[in-house]
Symmetry: C2
Subunit: 248 residues, 2 copies
Amino acid sequence: MRTEDVLPKLRELGFEEGDAAVLADHFLEAERRGKQGHGLSRVDWLASQELDPSARPERITAVEGFERWAGRGALGYLTLAAVCDAQIESPPDEARVVVASNCFPTGMLGYWTRRLADAGLVAALTATSPARLGHPDGSPPLAGTNPLSIAIPSSDGAPVVTDVSMGRVTYGDVIAGLAPEKELVPFGGEHGHKAFALAVGLQLLVDALAGDGYGAVLLVARPTADPVPALRRAAGGARLPGDGGTKA
Amino acid sequence: MRTEDVLPKLRELGFEEGDAAVLADHFLEAERRGKQGHGLSRVDWLASQELDPSARPERITAVEGFERWAGRGALGYLTLAAVCDAQIESPPDEARVVVASNCFPTGMLGYWTRRLADAGLVAALTATSPARLGHPDGSPPLAGTNPLSIAIPSSDGAPVVTDVSMGRVTYGDVIAGLAPEKELVPFGGEHGHKAFALAVGLQLLVDALAGDGYGAVLLVARPTADPVPALRRAAGGARLPGDGGTKA
C-alpha cells in the first residue's frame, strides 16, 4: 500500500470524502511515528472486514461533566474523531468523562489525545480490543492490549504524548508482520503481572462504563498548570514520550 | 512496630481519634495485603516527618462532574479518606473527576479505590510522589513511581482491584528494607520505556490539573454493566488482581 493509494482505496471501500480523509490522516500519521501496526497495513485489514461506511456515531448523553457516545456501527476511528471534534468545539469548564461504546478499532490512541492537547486540553484515553493477553503465570487470553494514552499541552508548543500498550508487542505489529503472535504477552518480563494488571484494570473500567462490545473511556480537562516546560528542563537532552517517533 | 502499638503511636504523634483510626486501618490493611512498604514501616517514617496533625483537607469546588480538594497540610491519606467519604455520601449521577492538590503521601492506592468499589462505584486513581524514576536510556530522576489503581465492583461481591506502581520496586519497599534503592527504576526491563512513559504521563496529568506539589486525580463513576463475573469465569482458576494479597 503506497501513501498515494490510501485515499482512493478508502473511497473504494465506500467511505465519503470527509471520513476517508480522517482515516487516511490517522494511518499516515501512524506511519510517520513509526507505529506501522496502526498504519497502512490497516487499510488492507479494513478491506477484509465487514464494514458499514455510512454508519455514524451518535452522542446520546451530554451533560457538563459527562458524555456518552454510541458507535452505531461506525469504525472506532470515526467515533473518536467525532468525540474529539465535540470536545474541542465545546470544552469542559473543568473536566469531563466521555464513554464511547461499540468503538472499535481505535488505532493509535496518541493520535486522538494529541489532537486534544493541540487544542489546549489535557487528555487521558484508553480503549479495549479483543482479549489477547493471558496471566503471565498461565491463563486463557483475558485482556486486550488496552493502551493508555495521556497528552498534556505545553506553553512551549510541544505537548507530551504518552501512548503505552500493555502488550510486549501490539496486535498491529503482528498484522504488519513485525512480530510473531507468540510475543503478544503482557510486557515487562518477570514483572509482566504489572502490565497484565493494567490491561485488566483498564478493560474492566471500559467494560463497566461502556457495557457490551469494545469501547473507550476519555478523561478530558482544562489544565490549571503548565508542567511540561519544567520537565523538559529537568530532562536535559533526554527524549520525552511523544517527541519524534517514539514507540512507547 | 507491633500491630497493637500502631494506634497509640499515631495518637502520640498528635492525631485525634478518628484520623488515627483511618491511618491505622490503612497501614494494617497494607500489611495484610503483603504491601509492607505501605504498612507499619510508615508509622516510624511519619514520626520522622514534620507533621501538622490538626490540618484538615478542604473541598474547594464541587459541581456535578468535578470536585477540587486542597490538602491544606493534612496527610494525603487523610485527604483521600475525606474524598472517598464525600463520593460515597454523594455519588455522581454518571461520572466525576476529583482533583486533590497537596495530597501526599497517599499510600496504597488500592485501599482507596477498593473503598469506592465496595460502595458500588467504579474508581481509577493515580497520585504523584517525589521523582525517583529516570529514563531507561539515562536521565536524572524525572517521575515518581506514580501508581495507577483501578477498582471495579462486582455482583459476586468481590471487586477486582488493580494497583500498579511504575517502579520495579516501590519507595515503600526501600523504606521497609525490602529492596535496595538502585532497583528503583521503571519496571519492565528491556521494555522499561513503557513503564517510564506511564509514570511521566500520569505525573503530568496530575501536575496539569492539581498544580504545584504532589497530588492525586480520581475518576469515580456509576457502573452501567457488571463485567467482573464473566472475567472470573473466563479466568478459570487464575487469580485476578486484588484477589488476596497480590503485590501487583
